[in-house]
């Protein structure tokens, strides 16, 4: 089971140009709104037509601009979960789920399939209800049941959680992941939320301005974002231009963090053409002394509070009164902050070289 996509399409402002393969698993499309990720899904489903390229699903050519092949939506066997679920409001849950069942299936068997889907997706007792009588979460499950019942070869999910309340999302995500793994075929999940992408997907493709910026297994993408955009999108708040130099005395590899005005020493080899380095806000460490080469003096510029965490804005090397003039953000729990705020300035902050994100601009 596989999906191969290599298409281009002119959009207002930029050109969509994607080339990727998906195997039997959940693939995540991560990107900002308007980056072309939904458009890619719509091209696979046949709702939109690419300008050029080829789409092949399990050996079936769905679209091929060279050979003028463009299979209509109804023959593509693509299950699509729309952002607003797009249930048929004039039909009951049963009728919605049964809509995609082939006419050749006998009625008794149809009813069995519908019953099974209702049971599998925990919709028992709702078969006779209309969509407007269901909660958002239930509507999403009906939409998924409806797509699964038609026995598609792939499931495409277009931001399925964006219409749900925050507190519902976590439950629904676990549930959806189970359902998609049960499906055992390819699923593509589009989102702009890194948390969702991380929880649901095995591999991730990051899309920016219509092009694939980075792709790979999710842990690689999140731990070692290969591009500046991937680093920012996956939540790396602290990024500085970097330049590799070799310390002539010790022979150690050192990267100058140009924006931060400090140098980070590595005890392992890194690429020569490194252009940027970053450190995630919660990976900064506080020390009692600066014996370690990667521990630097920091002054607190400002703080910001969220529900359970405190963001501490720090400036290396010298104090400042301007609360916009900071180098890095440090994300700590409120309990940690209570201990930090009574310390004398400057704070001794260590940048752990093992946690540094190393970026090479192409």
């Amino acid at each position: 089971m596989s999906l191969e996509v290599n298409i281009t399409k002119k959009l207002s402002g930029f050109e969509l140009k994607v080339d990727f393969k998906a195997e039997n698993d959940i693939l995540g499309f991560l990107g900002a709104s308007g980056s072309g990720k939904s458009m890619t899904l719509r091209c696979i489903a046949g709702i939109e037509t690419p300008d050029t390229g080829k789409i092949v699903l399990n050996g079936r050519v769905l679209f091929d601009s060279e050979n003028r092949i463009n299979i209509p939506i109804r023959e593509r066997k693509v299950g699509f979960l729309f952002q607003n679920y797009a249930l048929f409001p004039n039909m009951t849950v049963q009728q919605n789920i049964g809509f995609g069942l082939s006419k050749s299936i006998p009625k008794a068997e149809k009813n069995n399939i519908i019953k099974k889907k209702i049971h599998d997706l925990q919709l028992s007792g709702m078969g006779k209800r209309y969509p407007f009588q269901l909660s958002g979460g239930q509507q999403q499950r009906v939409a998924l049941a409806r797509a699964l019942a038609s026995d598609p070869e792939i499931i495409l999910l277009d931001e399925p959680f964006s219409a749900l309340d925050e507190h519902l999302r976590n439950n629904m995500m676990t549930q959806l992941k189970e359902d998609l793994l049960e499906f055992k075929k390819t699923s593509i999940f589009v989102t702009h939320n890194i948390e969702e992408a991380y929880q649901l997907c095995k591999d991730i493709i990051i899309i920016a301005e219509g092009s694939i910026d980075a792709s790979g297994p999710k842990d690689d993408i999140f731990n070692n974002p290969p591009t500046l955009y991937a680093a920012k999108l996956t939540g790396c708040k602290n990024i500085s231009k970097g330049k590799k130099i070799v310390n002539s005395i010790s022979g150690n590899t050192v990267v100058q963090a140009i924006d931060w005005g400090c140098s980070i020493t590595f005890d392992y080899e890194i690429e020569d053409d490194i252009t940027d380095i970053g450190i995630r806000a919660h990976y900064l460490e506080i020390k009692d002394n600066d014996y370690d080469v990667n521990t630097f003096n920091c002054w607190i510029v400002a703080t910001g509070e969220t529900l359970f965490r405190t963001k501490v804005y720090l400036k290396f090397s010298k104090p400042t009164d301007n609360d916009k003039d900071y180098h890095v953000v440090w994300d700590i729990s409120k309990e940690e902050w209570d201990l930090v705020k009574i310390r004398a300035l400057p704070l001794k902050i260590r940048i752990n070289p093992d946690k540094v994100v190393k970026i090479i601009k192409k």
Partner: protein
Amino acid sequence: MSELSPLWISIKTTIAATIIVFFIGITAAWFMASYKGRARGVIDGILTLPMVLPPTVVGFILLLIIGKNFPVGKLLDSFGITIIFTWFATVIAATVVAFPLMYRTCVGAFRQIDINVLNAARTLGASEWRVFWKVAVPLALPGIVAGTVLSFARALGEFGATMMIAGSIPGITETIPVAIYFAVIAGETANAFKWVILIFIISLSIMVASDKWAEKQMFLVSSARRKR
């Protein structure tokens, strides 16, 4: 000639015109609702024109098309078919003037349907025919019914174009509006009054009945409305 003949002629004409308009109007609306070509504005304008032109102009144009001295009329005449000044002419006049009301109301109703709902049906393997009948028509039903009612009322009230191409032949082409006109011309006010009241009752009761029905339907389709 029976005294009630204008009533029967009007009802027959109106029902025939409404049925024709119903099918042509829905079909045209369904195509135009998704059509995004360059000619959209022009086609839309032409299909709406009979509504904004004076009925006499519509009648004049129809006369040019089906009149015995003009190409289409001549062609039909050579097959022994005459339309002008027959009951069919009343149907044609009523159909043409009522069409834009059906068309415009249905285009609006179809365009209000969430395009995702239609596409969802397609991804589930539904043919365009099935998408149309099982999804689009039920969701546009309040609009379709409203369009039908408006078309019916407009066809029932048609006067100008009818006079131009069907004339006023008692028992054949004399509809209620035509009968009212000639009753007034002849000074038969009481007779005119009788027809006026009749038209009033028919039009009003159909409007009220359809409104009641539409209210009940609204809650079903409202959740499929496109979010703006």
